[in-house]
Amino acid sequence: MSEEILAPLEGKVVKLNISIGDKVEEDQEAFVIEAMKMETEVYVPCDGTVESVMVKEGDEVEEDAVMAVISCE
């Protein structure tokens, strides 16, 4: 089953650590979003493979925007 990585808050994607096809682990750092004078790390929700990535570095995202989809083991 797939799990979406949603943006926990509105901000700018300043770091993107995953790409399509990557094997990832739960709690691995996937993105960093900058907002409210701090950097918020967003983590991979489950062990699996990256199915798709919807954003790139520099993009502005809204709260709850789907940033990536992970296919979980």
Partner: protein
């Protein structure tokens, strides 16, 4: 040469003055080297040094340069409300509109304000002074300054420095209190996503809340009206130039005048007395109690609600925006990296701003 020497301030330097210089230098150091609220503490620190240079007459009533900043900006109560105009532009009340019950957390965190009010009176401060010391627990610089200049101007400097110092120290002060009052299980609570807030709701909020609050507590008008006007600028989306100016240029200009003026009120006679140490101690107590009250209230609310609240966000009722919310997020992420509490914590955080202004309005109504 002799003439110049005679008119210099050299012979007027006292040990007390030297101590004040030291305090000014320490604040400047903290601002620059440790990044402690530099926007305020740097000009305040320098203002303290200026206020304690003899014969400059910078704070001479009717004549001094900095006295004029202080008189027209602070005594006339202009600067703090205008800072609130900018704050309103920067604030997103969405999290509160989505889950209004979080307003209680903002209100509950004002408990530190009231408790410290009574504690200060027990220590011998009069009503006006106690109210000004209590409002430090609201963690709101402009509100503290506004109340101090109305009720206890001689305490303005001490209370302002205490307020801004503790705001800078929120990441140090709050986490121990938060961990003491919550269980690991509570810290792991993942909150349910709030509903989406419509644009219309975000437009009606500043207008309706202004009418309602100002009818109930008219004395809160200068601060509250400016806060909500700024928010209306933001949410209307049709006055971007005004909004941008309010939150950037205007805020920066006001902060310059505010910092210098506050620092310059702190001359040796006013500041170097034992009561000031009490102010700092009581201010710290106010902060800690407010943090605790917010958390405990969240735990109490959890007994009655279906969608559990992570009690940590109660600490964000202390309206150091967004510092307290950031601290809540960090403490939560220590237990579970994927628990993104930041936006949930913003609810009580912005509610706390309203709560503190209301508390100030209540004090003004009762004591002015």
């Amino acid at each position: 040469m002799g003439f110049l020497f005679q008119h210099s301030g050299l012979f007027y330097i006292t040990p007390q003055i030297a101590v004040m210089w030291l305090i000014g230098f320490v604040l400047i150091y903290l601002a620059i080297a440790k990044d402690y609220e530099p926007l305020l503490l740097l000009p305040i620190g320098f203002g303290i040094v200026l206020a304690n240079l003899p014969l400059t007459h910078l704070m001479q009533p009717d004549e001094g340069l900095i006295w004029r900043f202080y008189h027209y900006g602070i005594q006339w109560e202009i600067i703090p409300p205008l800072i609130f105009l900018g704050l309103g532009v920067l604030t997103d009340f969405g999290p509160i509109i989505a889950r209004p019950s979080l307003i209680f957390l903002g209100a509950g965190a004002q408990a530190g304000v009231y408790l410290t009010f009574f504690a200060a009176m027990a220590f011998g401060f009069n009503l006006n002074e106690a109210a000004t010391i209590g409002i430090i627990g609201g963690a709101d610089g402009p509100t503290t300054i506004f109340l101090a200049s109305a009720l206890a101007p001689h305490m303005l400097g001490a209370c302002a420095v205490a307020a801004y110092s503790y705001m800078a120290l929120v990441p140090v002060i709050q986490p121990p209190v938060m961990k003491l009052l919550t269980t690991k299980k509570e810290r792991l609570i993942k909150m349910k996503k709030s509903r989406k807030v419509s644009r219309l709701e975000k437009l009606l909020f500043p207008i309706i809340s202004t009418v309602v609050i100002l009818i109930m507590i008219p004395e809160a008008a200068p601060l509250f009206s400016m806060l909500m006007l700024g928010n209306l600028f933001k949410e209307s989306k049709v006055v971007e130039r005004l909004a941008s100016s309010a939150k950037n240029e205007l805020m920066n200009i006001l902060t310059i005048f505010l910092g210098i003026s506050i620092g310059a009120t702190m001359n040796a006679e006013v500041f170097l007395n034992p009561k000031v140490i009490l102010v700092f101690i009581l201010g710290l107590v106010a902060f800690i109690v407010s943090t605790g009250a917010g958390i405990i209230l969240a735990k109490v609310m959890n007994l009655f609600v279906k969608d559990k609240i992570n009690p940590l966000i109660g600490a964000a009722g202390v309206s150091a925006v967004p510092m307290a919310a950031r601290v809540v997020h960090k403490v939560g992420s220590e237990e579970d990296k994927k628990n993104y509490l930041l936006m949930f914590a913003m609810g009580p955080n912005v509610a706390g701003v309203i709560g503190t202004v209301i508390a100030a309005g209540i004090f003004l109504t009762l004591l002015k």
